[in-house]
């Protein structure tokens, strides 16, 4: 009879975490930024059909980086969770916090019990009645949750990009300002995946971007995608 080699739990978890981190870092980043009228999401994604940013419920949106099939599965589960909860109770009883908890438990269980962790990182965001009531949760591959304020960057080079966003972002920015900041941040990663200096960022055409917002002022469903001429105008508007 053969005995499996002994692997310490520390080593096992570290290997899994490294594996998941590597998978996530390969993908393009997603930037989530709060602005005066809601929350904006942006990523570089030339596809019009395979989304990284989507609507979950009236005031809740979802953004993800990593393996498409894995986060798509989680997205569908989130829509089912939200719709079922809203149907059994009331639409106002569906919250980002509840959904973030369910995702965290799912990611955490898969990380510790299954042979391969999920190579995804998620943001679950809910737009509130005022900017102070906005909620943004960032979820990692191991099920850890962070309650973020105002801005999040996930995916490749997330740490360095996050530092640049922290420097430039402030409360009460307009939609046009945060979108230009988002595109500048996404453009800071060169086509080869390396970080470029501030001021010499790549230009990204509006057609290559996936942009959506949770708009505070919209009556029920706050989620709206921005593309085409409307997006181009927001990106060029000076001073905004």
């Amino acid at each position: 009879m053969t005995m499996p080699f002994y692997v310490s739990p520390e080593q096992l978890m570290k290997d899994r975490a490294d594996f998941a981190r590597k998978g996530i870092a390969r993908g393009r980043s997603v930037v989530v930024l709060g602005y005066d009228g809601g929350i904006a999401f942006a990523t570089e994604n030339p596809s019009r059909a395979l989304h990284k940013i989507s609507e979950i419920y009236d005031r809740i949106a979802f953004a993800a980086v990593g393996k498409y099939n894995e986060f798509e599965n989680l997205r569908v589960a989130g829509v089912r969770y939200a719709d079922l909860r809203g149907y059994s109770y009331d639409r106002t009883d569906v919250t980002a916090r509840g959904l973030a908890n369910a995702y965290a438990q799912t990611l955490g269980t898969v990380f510790t019990t299954e042979s391969k962790p999920l190579e995804v990182e998620l943001v679950v965001a809910e737009v509130g009645a005022t900017p102070g009531e906005d909620q943004v949760y960032r979820l990692s591959y191991d099920g850890s949750v962070a309650d973020e304020h105002g801005h999040v960057v996930m995916g490749g080079q997330a740490e360095q990009l996050g530092a640049r966003v922290t420097e430039a972002w402030h409360e009460g920015m307009s939609l046009s300002e945060v979108l230009r900041l988002a595109v500048r941040t996404l453009g800071a990663v060169g086509t080869d995946g390396s970080l470029v200096d501030q001021g010499s960022e790549r230009e990204i055409a509006p057609a290559g971007l996936e942009v959506a917002v949770l708009e505070r002022a919209r009556p029920r469903r706050a989620f709206r995608r921005l593309h085409g001429a409307a997006l181009a105008e927001l990106l060029t508007e000076s001073g905004g």
């Binding site: 599965n73 089912r80 719709d83 079922l84 909860r85 149907y87 109770y89 509840g98 438990q105």
Partner: protein, 302 residues
């Protein structure tokens, strides 16, 4: 089975299973007790007198090929329980999604739940697939849901909807009627359902004409409901004392719009004035019942 309210722990496997974009199918699989049709009442028990009934719905098309052809749906506000009025301000016409409306006649409680589920079904599909269902697709989903309600319908809790929407592919508004077994029939020009539908349909046959504009069609819908309320005790007329007007929705390429109350108040005022004038022209200032010799009792008895 996991209770739907259970939020502790991870998402149940059923949530993560790839497959259907239908919320109804998901419910049937995961929480069948939440579907209206899956709750049977005891065999043989009739449910007919148990719950309030919702009554008349009218729908008609309007517009021209050049100006765009839309559809209007309107419903009165009365719900009855036997010979009593259960509600004066019930709403029976709902936006199903951005481009379609559904009106309901039949057992009110089951009908409202069915509409809620139908709205959710369309929104769920839209979120998961990232695109809208075709109008025929929506009409067929409703058909499936009505069929699921057949056990309750056989016990007297029938729901008969009327569905109308703007077909984005074909570029005009369309109407669908249903029977309790889920049969789906496309209607042309106009249609009515509910207890006062016979009278409303008669009115529509005379008032509807091709090429009506939106405002004209709103007037026709309100007038058809007025005629239904005139002859059917279960249909409520416009309530000028409480300022309760019918629910009227207009569906065009721009989406669903609910006609504002002050606009309806003006329409009702015009119709009442016209009818009053017609009556005076025919009978002068005498009441319709005619004059009778003093001291004699006439007319129907209550």
């Amino acid at each position: 089975m996991t209770h739907p309210a259970d939020t502790s722990g991870r998402l149940p496997d059923a949530f993560l299973r790839p497959g259907s974009s239908s919320f109804v199918d998901f419910l049937a699989d995961h929480a069948p007790d939440l579907l209206p049709g899956h709750r049977g009442t005891p065999a043989g028990a009739g449910g007919e007198g148990l719950a309030p009934h919702a009554t008349t719905i009218v729908a008609l098309t309007f517009g021209t090929d050049d100006g765009g052809r839309g559809v209007i749906m309107a419903g009165d506000r009365r719900a009855t329980a036997g010979n009593l009025i259960a509600s004066r301000e019930m709403e029976k016409v709902f936006a199903a999604d951005a481009y379609s409306v559904v009106g309901i006649a039949g057992s009110a409680g089951v009908a409202v739940e069915l509409v809620r589920l139908f709205q959710l079904e369309l929104e769920h599909y839209e979120k998961i697939e990232g695109s809208l269902l075709s109008l025929d697709g929506k009409a067929n989903r409703l058909s499936t849901m009505i069929r699921g309600n057949l056990p309750l319908a056989l016990q007297g809790l029938a729901v008969v909807p009327l569905f109308a929407g703007y077909d984005l592919d074909r570029g005009y508004g369309r109407l669908f009627s249903y029977d309790v077994t889920g049969g789906r029939y496309e209607e042309h020009d106009h249609h009515t359902v509910g207890s006062g539908s016979v009278f409303a349909r008669g009115a529509l046959k005379k008032l509807w004409r091709p090429g009506l504009d939106a405002d004209g069609a709103v007037g026709v819908a309100v007038e058809a409901l007025y005629d239904a309320a005139d002859d059917d005790s279960a249909t409520g007329g416009p309530d000028t004392v409480r300022q309760i007007w019918p629910v009227v929705t207009v569906v065009t390429a721009d989406g669903v719009r609910r006609v504002a109350d002050d606009e309806l108040a003006a329409t009702v005022e015009r119709i009442v004035a016209e009818r009053g004038a017609a009556h005076r022209a025919a009978h002068g200032d005498r009441p319709a019942g005619g004059t009778r010799p003093e001291g004699t009792q006439g007319g129907a008895r209550a």
